[in-house]
């Protein structure tokens, strides 16, 4: 219930659409109810009048009820179409709202807060679960509230003719609309959650299989992957089968409730006609009304059956959205500093209280315009240094200052404006080369883009492509070689003249010849910037003035630059 209330609160912006859809849904149901009751009463009345004298026949007002029948028929058609349009419009608006909200929640989490989440699983949450949440408005919110409102109106209408008939109608509608669905929902709750989670697992499995084809094939693991997919599908379908069983039970039970209500209303009506002097024509009205009324609660069993799935999806979505943000918003936001010297004093950082220090008591000074190299074995903390400077992770001890202001007072967004990273994990988006470059500077013109590619030694290659800058890069940049992808990442850096530049394994994946040329062409890009080079290859160290060495989180003086260059 908590999740549902939270969903409704999230959707506050679309309240107008939500309530309009609900109102039209009520009109649709009531138009049909009055069409049927009026038609039944009309036939019985005219039948009775037909048997009486000519005078009575002439007195009977034929036209008002006949016109009303036509009116309700027209209203019904129009309202049905309007209801469909408005409720779906509202649904898609809510979907858009929800997607953007969820992505917005992920932004501050990445990458620190998302370390343990699988991206395939995240996708399942983002699109699959949010599509499931879609059903909340269309299949739960509208039917439930519309049923409540119209059931009240119909019961009052019945009470005008017979108190007992009204009571039985209310009981029947309650059984059909509330008791049966609640029971089935309770039964289907586990299976519903199982369907959602197994489907997500299946999706992740397929993403992984598609991305790991070379490994799965050459290791003979394809049959295993097929078997695992079959097992997951088996689990999914077993749960779906249980859901189908509950759906069948629910259908049978609600059918029974509907039909026995008709029977009870009939008996009450017959007793009223013979005993209490109810107009006989009203018996036809009650009989047809008792059947038509159930249209209001017909969607409820399905609503309750889906309630379990929706709730599970909502929980999963909120669970990710509520992950703790790894970097707190600064209490006092730093102004853009005038100078960009960095001073680390005894800084320590670890990814959790039970984890070892990733950086321990690190002290480092980098003056503006200086170029520093950091070397060290894999896992020594080089990447953590970057996480620290970009404000992806909070440091727990020591002081870190940029231009004299404590790093803690900078937001990650501010740091992104001051620092450009050429990383070994720069992502190439599945879009054109142009868009991948524009990411770095949205207003760059063609000449600027080509110049950046020129510096990155990729201009000739791009010019040689039939579609040039507008060539689409495959998923995760598969169509480009590792080296070419790196060069696009570099071209992005060229487009952003930030005061700081971090080169994170800048030449990895490049062959020796290209590496040398690349480093040569990099030199002008470094001019006027403060540069941090993180590498385990010797060649990029030719760019720096000073080398430090990281080992098990501790920073120490590295080999003299002159010695390095001679080696």
């Amino acid at each position: 219930m908590n999740e549902m209330r939270r969903l409704v609160r999230l959707f506050a912006a679309q309240k107008g659409w939500m309530i309009s859809g609900l109102a039209i849904a009520c009109v649709t149901v009531m138009a049909n109810f009055w069409l049927m009751t009026l038609s039944g009463w009309f036939l019985a009345s005219t039948g009775i009048v037909g048997l009486s004298s000519f005078a009575v026949q002439n007195q009977f007002n034929f036209f008002t009820p006949a016109a009303s029948v036509r009116f309700f028929a027209t209203l019904r058609v129009g309202a049905r179409y309007g209801e469909r349009l408005v409720t779906h419009e509202a649904t898609f608006r809510l979907l858009a709202e929800l997607r953007a909200w969820f992505f917005g929640r992920l932004v501050p989490l990445a990458p620190a807060g998302l370390k343990d989440q699988r991206t395939g699983d995240l996708l399942a949450r983002l699109s699959g679960d949010i599509d499931t949440l879609n059903l909340f408005y269309l299949r739960v919110y509208v039917p439930a509230l519309a049923a409540g409102i119209t059931v009240g109106l119909m019961t009052l209408f019945f009470a005008w003719f017979s108190g007992w008939a009204a009571l039985w109608l209310l009981v029947g509608l309650g059984l059909n609309g509330v008791a049966v669905p609640m029971l089935t929902a309770r039964l289907g709750h586990k299976a519903g959650a199982e369907v959602t989670s197994t489907m997500a697992a299946l999706r992740t499995h397929y993403v992984e299989a598609a991305q790991s084809l070379p490994e799965l094939l050459t290791y003979g693991a394809a049959p295993g992957a097929l078997a695992e997919a079959a097992a997951l599908n088996g689990r999914l379908q077993a749960a779906q089968g249980r859901m189908a069983g509950y759906a069948g039970l629910s259908l049978a039970a609600s059918g029974l409730a509907t039909n026995f209500t008709l029977l009870a209303v009939l008996v009450a009506g017959i007793k009223a006609v013979t005993g209490a002097g109810l107009n006989p024509a009203d018996l036809a009205l009650l009989a047809l009304g008792a059947v038509a009324a159930f249209e209001a609660v017909a969607p409820l069993p399905q609503a309750f059956a889906q309630y379990g799935q929706i709730k599970a999806a909502a929980r999963r979505v909120f669970e990710v959205a509520d992950l703790p943000v790894p970097v707190a918003e600064p209490a006092v936001t730093a102004a853009r500093p005038a100078r960009f010297d960095l001073a680390l004093e005894g800084v320590s950082l670890r990814y959790g209280a039970d984890r070892p220090w990733a950086l321990e008591d690190v002290t480092l000074r980098v003056a503006e315009g200086q170029r520093i190299g950091v070397i060290g074995p894999t896992g020594a903390g080089k990447s953590t240094l970057i996480n620290l400077l970009l404000r992806f992770y909070e440091y727990q001890a020591g002081s870190a200052r940029l231009g004299g202001q404590e790093l803690r007072n900078f937001t990650p967004e501010q740091m992104a404006r001051l620092v450009t990273v050429v990383s070994q994990r720069s992502h190439l988006f599945h879009t054109t080369i142009r868009d991948n470059l524009l990411l770095a500077r949205g207003d760059a013109d063609e000449a600027a883009l080509m110049n950046a590619l020129e510096v990155a030694q990729l201009a000739d290659f791009v010019r040689g492509l039939p579609e040039g800058l507008d060539t689409v890069v495959g998923e995760a940049g598969i169509a480009l070689s590792g080296g070419q992808g790196r060069r696009i990442a570099l071209a992005r850096a060229v487009l952003r003249p930030t005061p700081w530049l971090i080169l994170d394994e800048p030449t990895e994946g490049l062959d020796a010849g290209t590496e040398a040329a690349f480093l040569r062409d990099l030199a002008p890009v470094l001019a006027g910037r403060t540069v941090l080079v993180i590498t385990h290859r010797p060649a990029p160290l030719a760019l720096v003035d000073e080398v430090w060495r990281l080992e098990a989180g501790r920073l120490m003086a590295g080999p003299a630059v002159a010695a390095l260059h001679k080696a």
Binding site: L35, G40, A44, G50, Q57, P65, R84, E89, A96, R99, A100, A110, R118, T119, L123, L126, S127, M199, Y206, V207, E208, A209, L213, E215, L216, L217, Y219, G220, A225, L226, A230, L249, A253, L263, V273, T274, P280, L283, L288, P377, T378, G379, S383, P412, E413, A416, V421, S423, Q424, L439, G474, A476, I478, A479, E505, E508, D511, A512, H536, A539
Partner: protein, 583 residues
């Protein structure tokens, strides 16, 4: 597709119906149960009309109609049982179809291999395999049975109504067929729009995966916040296109509602006019009024499930597109178990479809042991050569011989049993370190795993992981550094104990010290098997027994590093370019 697809739409239905053969029994049962339920409704209307007529016009009391009321109660129970059974039959009608299509699609993906599948985005594939196949469910469990009901139930009602009152019979007879007619009319347009919507949905989920994987990069450029707006915009576009489709699709149901409601109103008003003058009696009039809505119920169901059909057709089109994608010709031969593997490339050439030759007239032999480093500038054909050696694709010209047997005639699985491959960015599967190591050797005991990790110089950090061998590695090993992933991948390759080991820049993410250790291990491995490694670093070339330099798709140089250093050529050029920086 999208636009011109409406004309092709009818071809998907027969193919889907052929799938229906796999569950024919359940489909037939589901139709039968539906029909019986429809006929019971007619019987119920007859009983109800008798009761109401009796009370109003024959002045019967409750006791006089008790028998009829008991009859009604019996019918109600029977209908409940049928409804339960029908739901189970409907589920079974598509279960096997979905399971088998999932299996076939994934198996087909494996049969096509990484080269042919390179053009398909993994999120799109996953969406087709999950949501796409689920979209077929309502087609078999709802739409197909409803088609049969649409004929059987209205005909039975008509057969009852016509003799009772021919005027109402004619109204129903006219209104009934108009509905399918109008539905087809609007339906085809809606179908074309629906195709576009499905494409859009697929594109959206690809876009999301891409954005999620690149979220860090977006943040680095301060663009993540903009992306929220882009996602909102894409969702908005999705809404507009979908609503465009739905506006038309809902017209079909509006048309239905129109005829159904109109028919009821007409029946009521016309009967009223005749009743008031005593031309007919109440019983037939009331029975027809009870049956008129039921006449339209199956048709209404069809319109409800027609949308499901369109979604299913759109999904099926993508499914069949994937299933029908050609598989490159593959050999069927089996390699005899062998202790030594010698490979010979004879005049091997390769060009991607319509592209220039990447490899041309390549003649090279690889002995059963020893490490060969493959060097060359970007685009020289190193990766292509490796893909050919791995049997991911056949050469366009010439042949590759494995111990004298043409690789093109050998089943890839048989060849993969002899080789291990460590790609440029190896992927670790979601699971534990041990699961990943055992990928190619499921029965290997723990000490064999540790031995392999020792070989790959990975034992030390694995031991330090919480849980050791049982430590979970995220998708793509995101909890590990690039170098650690690479070393686990190396250990995985060692553990398989292959005759041929192929590595693509496998020491890339390692620092100098780790690299030297891994190269020691590779040298050790090469004593008893062939090792081929694409090298971007001269340090690797210097440790290899043999260096093969490719240039523009041909072997430019072939020899020991020392010999190549002495001779003018590409190697010297590479070496000088590199040396300049270091010196």
């Amino acid at each position: 597709m999208g636009q011109g697809s409406a004309a092709k739409a009818p071809r998907i239905d027969p193919r889907l119906m052929r799938e229906g053969k796999r569950t024919r029994g359940a489909l037939k049962l589901s139709v039968l149960l539906g029909m019986v339920a429809g006929w019971l409704i007619i019987a119920q209307a007859v009983l109800l009309a008798h009761v109401v007529n009796g009370v109003i016009f024959a002045h019967q009391r409750l006791a006089d109609v008790t028998g009829l009321l008991w009859g009604l109660a019996g019918l109600f129970v029977l209908r409940a049982l049928l409804a339960f059974a029908a739901e189970l039959a409907a589920f079974r009608a598509s279960r096997a179809i979905r399971a088998e299509l999932r299996h076939d699609l994934l198996a087909h993906m494996f049969a096509r291999g990484p080269v042919d599948m390179a053009g398909d985005a993994s999120a799109d594939l996953a969406a087709t395999l999950t949501d796409g196949i689920e979209a077929l469910e309502p087609y078999f469990s709802r739409y197909v049975p409803q088609m049969a009901l649409c004929v059987a139930v209205p005909l039975a009602i008509l057969a009852l109504v016509l003799p009772l009152d021919w005027i109402s019979g004619v109204i129903l007879l006219v209104a009934g067929p108009l509905i399918p007619f109008f539905m087809v009319l609007v339906g085809y347009r809606a179908e074309a729009i629906n195709q576009r919507q499905w494409q859009k949905l697929l594109r959206m989920s690809t876009h999301f995966l891409d954005m999620l994987q690149g979220l860090t990069t977006l943040k680095l450029f301060g663009r993540a916040r903009d992306e929220v707006a882009i996602i909102a915009r894409l969702s908005d576009e999705y809404r507009r296109v979908t609503m465009e489709g739905l506006r038309v699709a809902f017209l079909t149901s509006a048309v239905l509602e129109f005829f159904a409601t109109l028919a009821i109103a007409l029946v009521a008003v016309l009967f009223g006019a005749r009743l008031i003058h005593g031309h007919i009696s109440f019983y037939p009039a009331f029975l027809v009024l009870l049956l008129a809505p039921e006449f339209f119920v199956p048709l209404r169901g069809l319109s409800l499930h027609y949308h499901a059909r369109m979604t299913a057709i759109a999904a099926a089109r993508r499914i069949y597109e994937l299933l029908d994608a050609p598989v490159s010709p593959r050999g069927a031969g089996v390699l005899a178990p062998m202790a030594r593997v010698e490979i010979a490339c004879e005049g091997v050439g390769f060009a991607y479809e319509g592209g220039p030759a990447v490899l041309a007239g390549l003649d090279v032999r690889f002995g059963a042991t020893g490490m060969t480093a493959i060097l060359g500038e970007s685009g020289a054909g190193k990766t292509t050569l490796i893909k050919l050696l791995l049997g991911f694709m056949p050469p366009s010209a010439g042949r590759i011989l494995v111990n004298g047997q043409d690789l093109a005639g050998i089943a890839p699985e048989s060849w993969w049993g002899q080789v291990a491959y460590v790609p440029q960015s190896p992927r670790l599967l979601h699971g534990s370190v041990a699961d990943n190591l055992r990928l190619g050797a499921p029965d290997a005991p723990d000490d064999a795993l540790w031995a392999a990790l020792n070989m790959a110089r990975a034992a030390e950090f694995v031991r330090a992981l919480p849980g050791g061998l049982a430590a979970a590695v995220g998708e793509g090993g995101s909890a590990l550094s690039g170098g650690q992933v690479q070393r686990i991948a190396l250990a995985r390759a060692y553990l398989k104990n292959p005759r041929v080991l192929v590595l693509d820049e496998a020491t890339n993410s390692l620092d100098g010290e780790s690299e030297a250790l891994v190269l020691d291990a590779l040298t050790e491995m090469a004593a008893s098997r062939a090792v081929m490694i694409i090298a971007h670093r001269l340090s690797v070339a210097e440790r290899a027994a043999r260096v093969l330099v490719l240039d523009q798709g041909r072997v430019a140089q072939d020899g020991t590093a020392a010999a190549l250093m002495a001779a003018p050529g590409v190697y010297q050029r590479l070496r000088q370019a590199y040396g300049e920086m270091v010196a």
